[in-house]
Symmetry: C2
């Protein structure tokens, strides 16, 4: 059996994801689809709209064979770290290929760029530092300029969010020495940030979240599979959807009371960004106000949100686990067959039920779940995450 | 002019305090009454029912001449530290005497006990350690037993809360080499913890808070002076009274997400008490539930609340200011006259308006105010505490 890996957030699952899934199977000729999925908190520094358990079930019901949780300390970080964690998991699961959407759409370009970068990393880092010396450059701008200097002939626009992720997948594969093949398709229709869907059945996750938070089910239903719609509605009967607003008082409290030295220990806090965040928090009455006050050209909206999330979750260097692991959230019949096939060769610990896992392994992710449970109606997520078995579809 | 000092919380001011005030003046023959008062948070590890500004005005309106704020890092600590900070302020203000209520009622006993203790401190500490080795002993019990061993002939029951405080005032005076005379009166009527007032005009602050939180103004009005009642009612028109319940979600969040090493750095956290607090927080739905789950014979209710408050306010050893200061909250015409008289000799910095003070001096108390402002309707306290002038009654 041959597996292809996809790296996802499914916040929530929608028709664009379904199309991506079908293309992955078609283009890679894989028998098995493995999705590495963020848990309660996402790469852009946001809480997920609904728990990972519902999102894993959406994935399996739509055709994914294995859903693995990407641990918090990878899932909420910039592309390089995010990609490293996900590729390590896919490599351990003996994935034959990965498949991702990108603005570029040419797999060879990603491989070449990654090869060039591993061979020229010293040159690249020096170039990066030079561009970052100009305080007007954001990290992404500097990165792009440095890359263009190194490879003027490669047409890979790294200002595009999916190109960046794809590039880091390729780079992580090269750096980790994995044999995973790269497959990509050009993204069509809704760009990630679009809030006004124009396509008749595909809209961005951002647009769909806006509909769901506004309870506009009539509109939302055309953009998600029926199985997803069912799970969203079932969840919504007894719970609220989650957003940063639910955590705003806690973030504000943390920013206002934490001693400066403590904030400086948080991952991603550097260059005095903590002062900027503290000032913004003191005068803001909502998370949106805070974000507007803190964002600058140098500190992008994503950088601020990601840093705010690390502060909220009190992530210091000492809380970073030393060991990656494979946390099963959902599995199909084919997924079970595949897991039996590769199980003996998997070099990462496999966790089916958190309560049976080594506490040190899962501690940081359990803390993330405890934090997530502060959102209204989600108190039960702590016990659920500790005791639940993966969703099985047979 | 001759001043006597009192050390108070006024949470809120009531008829018992008024009586204490009148006795202080009568028994010490003082022209001036100086009250050192806790700010937003109190010695038993609780937020004050209403802001220090209203409480200072109550005091001045009832006859206090100077109200000075006891900084947070003294005000929220056990008796020894609490007393040290307050006596340092009263000493700096050239106070002739202090006057306090006690269960014992004999000033000579307090002086003798303090003298004995400064002379025999090594012996006492060894004895203390021995009693604390028995895990069934609370800190107070061990203290009492060690003291009795040292001075079997002194009839000073240090299991009584006001005796403990009075003893530490006397001890601080002896240790700091101050020339402050000691005066005390035996406490009558409502013991501190009584919730059922039996006297016709005097009830404990605890009982009065219960009435006020229940909006039982008819009952409360007989136990507080009219000037206090007026201020309480005026405050209540646009604000809520404050209680631990207002801070419970923040405490729970902090206990659940803070790394263990960070909690261990908090003042008062030792012997693994952080694990007990974390476990209790995880399963509690309210502050009362938390308190009930965390309290044991060894860890008293007060110890738990005080530790919880230090955790909530993120008080580490590095946040403790190195310098005490005199923060004026309220002043009468006589108080102004007195201040002019002693001003040139005062060795502590005087702060009339926080915005004009050295930031390092007031930083920790401003943080405490920011924390207090998380209580509903109190957002305005941050600006107020930064810019307000002392309440003046001319």
């Amino acid at each position: 059996m041959k597996a292809t890996g996809i790296i996802v957030e499914y916040n929530p699952f929608h028709n664009g994801h379904l199309f991506h899934l079908q293309e992955a199977k078609k283009q890679t000729q894989a028998d098995v689809i493995i999705a590495v999925m963020s848990g309660s908190f996402l790469q852009r520094g946001e809480p997920a709209l609904l728990p990972k358990w519902e999102r894993a079930q959406m994935a399996v019901d739509a055709g994914v064979d294995l859903v693995i949780e990407l641990p918090f300390h990878f899932a909420t970080q910039q592309a390089a770290i995010f990609a490293n964690g996900a590729i390590e998991i896919l490599g351990a699961l003996e994935t034959d290929s990965i498949f991702f959407g990108s603005e570029n759409g040419d797999a060879n370009v990603f491989s070449s760029a990654a090869k060039l970068m591993t061979e020229q990393s010293v040159l690249f880092k020096a170039s990066m530092r030079r561009f970052l010396d100009d305080k007007a450059n954001s990290y992404a701008t500097a990165w792009n300029a440095a890359f263009h200097e190194l490879a003027p002939d490669l047409t890979l626009d790294l200002a595009q969010p999916n190109n960046i992720l794809g590039f880091h997948y390729a780079l992580a594969i090269a750096e980790q020495g994995e044999k995973i093949k790269i497959a990509t398709m050009a993204r069509q229709n809704a760009a990630y940030h679009d809030t006004d869907p124009t396509h008749h059945s595909i809209a961005s996750a951002t647009a769909i979240r806006t509909m769901l938070l506004a309870n506009d089910w009539e509109k939302a239903r055309q953009y998600v599979p029926d199985s997803t719609l069912f799970l969203l509605q079932k969840f919504r009967e007894t719970h609220s959807f989650v957003s940063w607003d639910d955590f705003w008082p806690l973030l504000k409290y943390q920013l206002i009371t934490a001693p400066a030295a403590q904030l400086q220990n948080i991952r991603g806090v550097s260059e005095g960004i903590e002062n900027r965040l503290q000032q913004a928090a003191l005068h803001a009455a909502s998370f949106d106000e805070f974000l507007a006050a803190a964002t600058t050209k140098r500190y992008s909206n994503s950088r601020i949100k990601r840093t705010a999330l690390q502060i909220l979750a009190q992530q210091t260097e000492t809380t970073i686990p030393t060991q990656n692991y494979i946390r099963l959230l959902g599995i199909s019949a084919i997924g079970q067959q595949y897991l039996r096939q590769v199980k003996k060769d998997i070099e990462l610990p496999i966790v089916s039920t958190a309560s049976k896992a080594s506490p040190a392994l899962i501690e940081n992710d359990i803390r993330a779940t405890k934090l997530y449970s502060f959102a209204p109606t989600l108190e039960n997520q702590i016990l659920r995450d500790f005791h639940a078995s993966p969703y099985r579809r047979t």
